[in-house]
C-alpha cells in the first residue's frame, strides 16, 4: 500500500478471449466497491498502464492480481513471471489460466500445422508471399521482434507459482464477488485468507449435484450431438444420450447449462479429488452404454459397443475441451 493507503489491484489477460474481464464487470454495482476499496494499478482492458509501469513497481506491490489466459507464447510467459514478482496474491482466474481451456485444444496439433492453416490454407487468406510470422525479422532499420509462438499451451501454474485458482469459462459473477469479499475482508479487517493453493469460488462436488434434473439409471444406445436432438425438458441429458460433462465437472456455476437443455461442457474443470477430468468423464460415458450382455460372444460384444461408440464424435476433444493443458498427457504426440 502507498500514498492513498488502498490495496493495489491488477488484472491481466494472456491467451484468452476477454470473457473473464467481462465477467468481472458483470458483478454489477459491486464494481464500485472494488473501485472504492482498491487502487487499480494495472488492467489493460480498463486502464492505461503500460508494461513499463509494472516493471517499475517494487516487488510485491500489487496486493491482488487476477491473471486470466493461458500461456501460448513468450509474451504470456514473460508477463506471468513479471506479475508473479510484482504481486502478493496471484490468482489463476478462469479456465485458461487454470487448465488451458479452449486455447489448449491446440495441443492436439502442432505450431506448424496451426500456422499452415491460419496463414496459408484458410480460404479467407490471401498471402501470396507465404509470409509466416517469425520471432525476429531483419528490416533496414534494424531487427523487429515479436513474441515466440509456443508449440504447447500451458496453464499459469505450469510456469509460475500460483496462490489461488478461480475456475470457470468464465467464472460466474456471483462467485467472483464472493471471492472478492473474502479478499477485501482479509486486506481491510485482517480476516484469514483460504489456504494457499485452494480452488476458490466453486464447490468440491460435481455439477450433477447442483443440477435439478432427476437422475435415474442411465442406459444409452447411441449418443447425440447437440444439434441432433431436442432435449426433453426435466430429464437428465446424459440419460437422453446427450453428452453432459456434469459427472466429471466441479460445481459452483449452479448447473447453468443443463438447466437450459445444453450439456455441461466441463468449464469448471475436474471436481475435487479428480486428477484428470477427461479420464473421469470417459469412465462415466463408458458406464452408461446400455448394450451388451455377458452371455454374448466376445467379438459380438465388442461390435455392439463399437456401434454405440461410433456415435460419440471426437471423444478426446469432448472430454478435454477445457482441461487439456492440465491433463495427465498434456498434449498429443506429433508424428514426424
Amino acid at each position: 500500500m502507498n500514498e492513498n493507503g488502498k490495496p493495489k489491484f491488477g488484472m491481466y489477460w494472456a491467451s484468452s478471449c476477454g470473457g473473464c474481464e467481462i465477467s468481472v464487470l458483470n458483478i454489477g454495482e459491486h464494481i464500485l466497491t472494488v473501485d472504492e476499496v482498491f487502487d487499480v494499478v494495472f488492467w489493460p482492458v480498463a486502464t492505461d498502464f503500460k508494461y513499463e509501469d509494472v516493471r517499475g513497481y517494487p516487488d510485491g506491490y500489487i496486493d491482488l492480481c487476477l491473471f486470466n489466459g493461458a500461456i501460448r507464447n513468450s509474451e504470456n510467459e514473460e508477463m506471468a513471471h513479471l506479475l508473479r514478482q510484482k504481486s502478493k496474491v496471484l490468482v489463476a482466474f478462469g479456465s485458461c489460466a487454470y487448465e488451458g481451456c479452449i486455447p489448449a485444444l491446440a495441443n492436439f496439433t502442432s505450431r506448424e500445422a496451426i500456422f499452415q492453416t491460419v496463414y496459408l490454407d484458410s480460404p479467407s487468406v490471401d498471402n501470396p508471399g507465404r509470409v509466416i510470422p517469425q520471432p525476429v525479422t531483419a528490416v533496414p532499420e534494424g531487427q523487429l521482434h515479436i513474441p515466440e509462438f509456443y508449440n504447447t499451451v500451458k496453464s499459469l501454474d505450469q510456469v509460475v507459482d500460483v496462490d489461488y485458482t478461480i475456475p470457470g469459462c468464465p467464472p460466474e459473477p456471483h462467485q467472483i464477488w464472493a471471492v472478492l469479499q473474502v479478499v477485501v475482508a482479509a486486506l481491510t479487517q485482517g480476516a484469514e485468507l483460504p489456504p494457499k493453493g485452494s480452488i476458490i469460488g466453486a464447490k468440491e462436488t460435481a455439477v450433477c449435484d447442483e443440477c435439478l434434473h432427476p437422475k435415474s439409471e442411465k442406459k444409452i444406445f447411441r449418443f447425440y450431438r447437440p444439434y441432433e436432438k431436442v432435449p426433453e425438458p426435466g430429464v437428465c441429458l446424459l440419460e437422453q444420450g446427450i453428452v453432459c460433462m456434469g459427472p466429471a465437472t466441479r460445481g459452483g456455476c449452479g448447473a447453468l447449462c443443463p438447466q437450459v437443455g445444453m450439456g455441461c461442457r466441463g468449464c469448471y474443470g475436474p471436481l475435487g479429488g479428480v486428477a484428470d477430468q477427461g479420464a473421469r468423464m470417459l469412465s462415466a460415458v463408458a458406464s452408461v452404454i446400455g448394450v451388451g450382455e455377458p452371455e454374448m460372444d466376445e467379438r459380438m460384444l465388442e461390435r455392439e459397443f463399437e456401434t454405440v461408440m461410433d456415435t460419440l464424435v471426437d471423444p478426446a476433444g469432448t472430454f478435454y475441451r477445457f482441461s487439456m493443458a492440465h491433463s495427465l498427457l498434456k498434449r498429443a504426440k506429433i508424428k514426424d
Binding site: S110, N151, A286, G292, E298, E302, V313, I334
Partner: protein, 167 residues
C-alpha cells in the same frame, strides 16, 4: 533407437480371480513369458480407472495390459464388461493423442489359461517392440517442430462422414 534392443515397459493390471491366477499358473508351470510386464493386482478388471492407464503412459510406460475374467465369469457380475467399454473408449481417446491403440490391450484369461495368457503377453511385447518407445515425458515437454496433422484432426474428418451417413 534400434527396436531389436528396445525393451518395452508394460504395466499390467490383472484381476485377482481368473487372470492373476492364470499369470500365476504360467509361473508355476514354468511357461516362459518376457519380463517386460510389471503386474499390479486389482480385485477385478472393473476397478480399472482410465486415470491409471494415462498415468502409466505419462510416467513413461510403453504399453498397458489389462486382464480380466471372460465375460460371464466376472466375480462381480458385469464389472468386466465395464472394463471392456472403458478400454475400447480409451483406445479411441488415446488414438487422438497420437498413441497407437495397440498400446492398450485387454485380455480375458480364465484361471486355467496360463499358457494362453503367457502367449498374449509375448505377443503384446513384440507388437510394442515393433511400435517403438512411446517416451511420453519427452512428448509432453515438446516445444519443437513438426508439420504433420495429428489423428485428432483426421478423426474429425472421419466423424463428419459418419454424421453425413447418419443424415
Amino acid at each position: 533407437m534400434n527396436n531389436e534392443q528396445f525393451e518395452p515397459v508394460i504395466i499390467g493390471f490383472t484381476c485377482n480371480w481368473c487372470s492373476y491366477r492364470a499369470a500365476d499358473l504360467a509361473g508355476t508351470a514354468r511357461v516362459k513369458y518376457p519380463p517386460n510386464v510389471r503386474l499390479i493386482r486389482l480385485m477385478c478388471s472393473g476397478r480399472i480407472d482410465p486415470t491409471f492407464v494415462l498415468q502409466a503412459f505419462a510416467g513413461g510406460a510403453d504399453g498397458v495390459l489389462i486382464t480380466g475374467c471372460h465375460p460371464g465369469e466376472c466375480h462381480y457380475l458385469e464389472q468386466n464388461l465395464k472394463a471392456l467399454r472403458r478400454t475400447m473408449l480409451l483406445q479411441r481417446t488415446v488414438a487422438q493423442f497420437g498413441i497407437e491403440p495397440e498400446r492398450v490391450r485387454l485380455v480375458w484369461a480364465s484361471a486355467a489359461e496360463g499358457v494362453y495368457l503367457a502367449n498374449a503377453i509375448t505377443e503384446m511385447v513384440e507388437e510394442i517392440r515393433a511400435l517403438g518407445p512411446l517416451n511420453w515425458p519427452q512428448v509432453a515437454a515438446l516445444n519443437g517442430k513438426s508439420h504433420v496433422l495429428t489423428p485428432a484432426i483426421a478423426s474429425v474428418v472421419v466423424s463428419e462422414e459418419l454424421v453425413e451417413a447418419a443424415i
